[in-house]
Symmetry: C2
Subunit: 336 residues, 2 copies
C-alpha cells in the first residue's frame, strides 16, 4: 500500500503489463493506495463520439443507454466505450486522499473536483444511474472513482454553472491547441459547431485568425457567426468530402476537426491548402484514413492528433468561457 | 470519357459519393478514362502492418496468403486489407496513358514506373499471383492497375536494384518528415529497426540529431549502430510500454514510431520529454490510444500523424539510399 504506482498499474486486471487505458478490465474495488485519490462520483460527462454510438446502439432509448453504461462499467471497471474506445470525464466530491498523493494535503474530503483525465483509464464503480441527459451527453450517478498520482484534476469553478464547467473541462484540450497553432491572419476552418468546435472558433478568432465554422446543421453554423464566434459559416455534411470541397476549395491554412462522427478525415484534408495543417480533435478520427488519405491525393499537409492535454488547458478554456458570454450561452443551452 | 475526374470517382462502386480510398469496392474493369493511366502490374509491395496481419491470419502459409490476397482484390477491386485498412504500392509498366493525363506525353507505353499512392485507392485487377516473398512483403503478379490524374508515381530508378527502389519508395514519407522535424542536437528515438525505421535513423542522423534505435530484435537495433545509422541502440518490446519507459526514461525530444505492430502508442508517448513530439509512421497506430494516452498521463506533447506524402519525398529517400551504402545493404537483405 505504501508503494508508489503513479500510473495505476495495480488496478489492471487484464491484460497484465499494460497501462490502465489499454486494459480491458480494471479493478475499482481494491483498497485505496497511499498515492491514490478516491472520488464520490456525481456526474459522468460522456465523450461525444461515445455518446452518439450509445444512442445509435440503443436507438435513442434512455433506459437502454443507462443499462448499456451499467453493463460496460460492470464488465470493464471503467466507462470505456468498446466500439469507439473513448470515454469522457466526471465530477464528484473528494472522498479520501492518500497521504502520498500530490494533492495531499491541498484537497480535503468533500471538495468538489472534476477529473481531467479520460474515463477510459479511471477505475469506476457504479452504484446507481439516477438519470441520463442526452442533450448534455451526461449521466447523473452515484459511484466511486479512483485517480492516480499522474491523473489531472481541477477544482470545480464557483463562478460558472457546474454543468457548463464540466462540459468545458471535458474538451479543454481543443482551444488550448488552437491557441498554439492558429496564427494571426490565417484562414481557419472549424468542422463541427458543437462544444469543442465553438471553443475552437472562439480561440482561433482571439488569436486573430479569420474563422469559418462548418456544420451540417445550418442553424448551428450560422449562430456562431451571429454570436461573434466566427467570421463566416458553411453548411455541409463533413462525411461527404466532395460536398465540403466544393465549398471550401482547399483554401484554408488550418482545419480544426471537431466533428463527432466517423468519416470526416477527407473533408478536412481536401479543405486545407498545400503546406497547411489539420488538427484532429474528433475522437472518431481514423489514423489510417488520415495518413493514407492525404497521400492518396498527393497532399503535403501536416496532420496533428489532438492531444487532450496541454499545459494550462483547463484555465485557458474556463477563462475563454468567462470572457465570452456567447460561449456561456451556448454551453448553458447544450448542457441544460 | 473526356470528362475530368482527378480523384477517380467514376471507379467507386459503393458506397456512392466517397473517394476511392474510402470505398468498399472499386471497379477496375471500366474503359480507361482520358485522364487515367493504365499499368501492367508486375509487383505488389504490401504495407508492413497489412502483410503481418495476412501472415497471422494465414498462419504464415504462403499459398493461403496468396489465396487471401486474390480474394480481397476480387471482392474489393483493390488491395486494401479489411483488418488494418492499409495497402502498399506497386511497380509495373505503362500500358496506356490517357491523352488528358498529366503524364501524357512524357510517359510512353512500356516505361517502368512505381505508384506512390496507396493500393487502398488503386483500382486493381489480378490475373495471376506468381509468387509471394514474405521477407520482402512482396507479391509477384500479373494484373492491371489504374492511376488517376492526382495519383503520384515515380520512374523506377536504373541505378538501384528494382526491389530496393520499390521498398524505399513505399516508405519514403518517413525520412521526408524526419528531415523536416528532427533538429540538430536533438535526442531522437526511432521505434522499429525495419525499412522505414532504418531510413528514419539515417535521415535524423544526417540532420545532426543524436539517434537511438529501438527494436525487440536486439541484433537489428545493434546493427543500425554498427552500420553507422544510429548512435545508440535499445532492445525492448514496444508493445510493453513500461519495459520501454524503464530504458528511455522519457528523455527524447522526438520519437519516430516505425513499429509494424499495434499497441506501441504508449511506449512512444512515455519515451518523449514534456513538450516534445511523437511522429507516428506505423500504420497500426490507433488514433484514440495516442490522443487519450497522452492525456491519461498528463503529458503535453505534440502528436503527429505520418503523412505518407511530402513534397520531394521519393527523390529524398532514393538519394539517401544512394549516398548510404549501409542502407543499400539493409534493403538488399530485406527484399532479397
Amino acid at each position: 500500500m505504501s508503494e508508489r504506482d503513479p500510473y495505476g498499474l495495480r488496478r489492471v486486471v487484464r491484460p497484465k503489463g499494460v497501462l490502465p487505458q489499454q486494459a480491458e478490465v480494471l479493478d475499482p474495488r481494491l483498497p485505496l493506495g497511499a498515492d491514490e485519490l478516491a472520488i464520490d462520483v456525481e456526474r459522468l460527462n460522456v465523450d461525444a463520439a461515445s455518446f452518439r454510438q450509445l444512442q445509435q446502439e440503443c436507438a435513442g432509448d434512455v433506459p437502454r443507454i443507462a443499462a448499456r453504461v451499467r453493463e460496460i462499467v460492470a464488465e470493464r471497471g471503467k466507462l470505456q466505450n468498446p466500439v469507439t474506445g473513448s470515454g469522457g470525464m466526471l465530477i464528484g466530491r473528494v472522498a479520501e486522499v492518500g497521504a502520498a498523493h500530490p494533492a495531499y494535503p491541498g484537497l480535503k474530503r468533500g471538495d468538489r473536483i472534476a477529473t481531467l483525465v479520460s474515463l477510459t483509464l479511471t477505475p469506476l464503480l457504479l452504484e446507481e444511474i439516477r438519470g441520463v441527459q442526452p442533450n448534455a451527453e451526461r449521466l447523473d450517478v452515484r459511484g466511486r472513482a479512483i485517480l492516480f498520482a499522474t491523473g489531472l484534476w481541477a477544482p470545480m469553478p464557483e463562478d460558472l454553472p457546474e454543468a457548463t464547467a464540466l462540459a468545458v473541462l471535458d474538451v479543454c484540450g481543443a482551444p488550448a491547441w488552437v491557441a498554439r497553432l492558429a496564427a494571426k491572419g490565417q484562414r481557419v476552418l472549424v468542422l463541427g459547431a458543437g462544444k469543442s468546435g465553438s471553443l475552437a472558433c472562439a480561440q482561433a478568432r482571439r488569436n486573430g485568425a479569420h474563422v469559418t465554422a462548418l456544420d451540417y446543421r445550418r442553424d448551428a453554423a450560422q449562430a456562431l457567426v451571429s454570436d461573434g464566434l466566427a467570421d463566416a459559416w458553411l453548411a455541409a455534411d463533413a462525411t461527404h468530402p466532395l460536398e465540403v470541397y466544393a465549398q471550401t476549395k482547399g483554401a484554408f491554412d488550418l482545419v480544426v476537426n471537431c466533428a463527432s462522427v466517423p468519416g470526416t478525415e477527407m473533408a478536412s484534408i481536401l479543405s486545407v491548402r498545400e503546406g497547411g495543417e489539420v488538427l484532429f480533435f474528433s475522437m472518431a478520427t481514423s489514423f489510417t484514413a488520415a495518413a493514407l488519405g492525404a497521400e492518396g491525393i498527393g497532399k503535403d499537409v501536416r496532420l496533428t492528433i489532438g492531444n487532450g492535454y496541454a499545459r494550462g488547458h483547463a484555465t485557458l478554456a474556463l477563462d475563454l468561457v468567462r470572457q465570452t458570454p456567447a460561449l456561456q450561452k451556448i454551453f448553458a443551452t447544450r448542457v441544460a
